[in-house]
Amino acid sequence: MATTRRFPGPSKLLGAPLAWLFALFSVAVAGWMLLTSLKSTRAIFAEPWSLPTSPQWDNYARAWTASDFAGATLNTVVLVVGTAVATIALSAPAAYALSRILTRWNSGITAFFALGLGIPAQVIILPLYVMMNELYLVDSLTGLWILYVATSMPFTVFFLTGFFGSLPRELEEAAALDGASANRTFWQIMLPLARSGIITAMILNIIQHWGETLFGLIFLQSEEKATLSLALLGFLQRMQYNGADWGGLFAGVCTVVLPVLACYIWLGRRIIEGMTLGSVK
């Protein structure tokens, strides 16, 4: 703040409440989502903002059994972790090479990957469906895993290329002086140095696929293979025939959101910086 000004101007006095109001709206939605998941359907509409008089934990039990959120959670965890690990395993070496090994191909290939960021999924999904169908990988978690890893390449390679590029060059030169081969330099020195960027890339990848829907909708068809997003949609569908069960629906919603919220509270700064800082550099 400028020391010459004793009182904040009118625009600032009016502005702060607006910002807090906007933030409090999101907090209110989150809090109300939690409350709703513990209420009976009648109480949800009769008293939307009251605390539940007797928490309806069987909302969660119903969601987890009737729409098999337990199975969906397991499918999603396995799929998401598998995707993140494979994505990093393929992207980190590529990003290292593109940022640290100078050839005439570097900038062209990096730009080539960046192009992928602008391609909507609708542009690639038809041929992918035909291809995967011929390989018997439709309605297969393995097939979806392959697609998730492949579609993660543009962002992750691009992100890690920027990250490796920011690491100091002296350490590589020191390793060379000690007689380390180029391969060993990568595995023993540069990869550990890039741990921070790699963790961020993994987190962003996990968050993105935790709630992914379009590919799941098209490539998974059996109920027992459903991911969390599909289980949620399935629950919505059931409400059309079995009557509204908003408590159970919100229990399902919380099952999807709470892990993301926990991850965000723990690693929020890293998530925010990972998603946005590249835009400012």
Binding site: A19, A30, L98, I109, I119, Q122, I124, I272
Partner: protein
């Protein structure tokens, strides 16, 4: 490489070598790693991204149900798209989201950025408003739709303020507006965060000069803040163009059930492409592919225009 390699008459061990020198053992060893390291990711990208995109271009010129022979149709799929009232609505909705939601999101983001710049607790507010951006679009859609139910919180609040007959928010006449407002809520935190990071890089002394000169808030924004963050605004505009055209889950979940679709009045091109290929009685891959190509062309045109619009001489500070 510009440098010419000179072979030493005797091999020299452990001698420091300039990294850029062609003949350096380090450089040779590293260059040998280049393709083995890059090719796996590149192959995956080409096979699952680039080739499918090209294949979609070809499919868009054919009449095809996804199995059996293709029937070459030239530009018929595109002509039929132009005449399809549902596609016309979908394309118009895509542009509306792009410009109306984008305009509102950016206006709100700029406002919040300026407010948060000097505000106590700004990191907490920034973290809170960013959170919707990382939550699944399906979940956000369910939450947002529930707020606007006939007996939902919004209508209860309106009745408390004396409005006896609130609108039918989720009816076909109002649903698209409800969706647009929801999208603004979800996206604002993301762009505010980027803009805040850009503003934080502007030297404080420029604002101190403004204060000495008696500049008001608008003058500070117009003459100092906006010019110095212009490049980042350009990046945000490109990011918005790409993500706006891709929006699918948030709209899709308003159908209320898997396997069904929301009313066509709220479709965008992403939903139209999905519906043509996977949710209509007879799959129309040619039509879906043509829609995909229209989406891709729209991204391309917007990115090129935005780069031209935001191009200017670099500013040093």
């Amino acid at each position: 490489m510009a440098a010419t390699a000179v072979r030493a008459t005797e091999p020299t061990r452990r001698q420091p070598a300039a990294p850029a020198e062609r003949g350096s053992p380090l450089t040779r060893g590293r260059r040998r790693l280049f393709w083995p390291f890059v090719v796996p990711a590149l192959v995956l990208y080409v096979v699952f991204y680039v080739l499918p995109a090209l294949a979609t271009g070809w499919i868009s010129l054919n009449k095809w149900a996804g199995a059996g022979p293709m029937e070459f149709a030239g530009l018929d799929n595109y002509r039929r798209l132009l005449l399809d009232p549902v596609f016309q609505d979908s394309f118009a909705n895509t542009l509306t989201i792009l410009f109306v939601v984008g305009g509102a999101t950016f206006a709100l983001s700029f406002l919040l950025t300026m407010i948060l710049r000097d505000m106590a607790g700004r990191k907490a507010v920034r973290a809170i408003i960013f959170f919707p951006n990382i939550v699944s679009g399906i979940v956000l859609s369910i939450l947002w739709g529930f707020l606007f139910q006939a007996e939902g919180v919004v209508n209860q609040a309106l009745r408390a303020f004396g409005v006896d007959s609130p609108p039918n928010w989720l009816g076909t006449d109002n649903l698209f507006s409800v969706i647009m407002i929801g999208l603004v809520w979800v996206q604002t935190g993301f762009f505010t965060t980027i803009l805040m990071a850009a503003v934080d890089r502007i030297p404080k002394d420029l604002y101190e000069v403004c204060d000495l000169e008696g500049a008001n808030a608008w003058q500070r924004f117009r003459n100092v803040t906006l010019p110095l963050m212009w490049d980042v605004v350009g990046v945000c505009a490109v990011l918005w163009s790409i993500s706006a055209i891709k929006i699918f889950e948030f709209i899709y979940a308003f159908a209320g059930a898997a396997g069904q679709l929301p009313p066509t009045k709220v479709w965008n091109t992403a939903l139209y492409a999905y519906a043509e290929a996977f949710a209509s009685g007879v799959p129309k891959y040619g039509s879906a592919a043509a829609t995909g190509m229209v989406m891709l062309a729209l991204v391309g045109v917007l990115v090129v225009l935005l780069r031209r619009l935001f191009r200017r001489d670099p500013v040093q500070f």
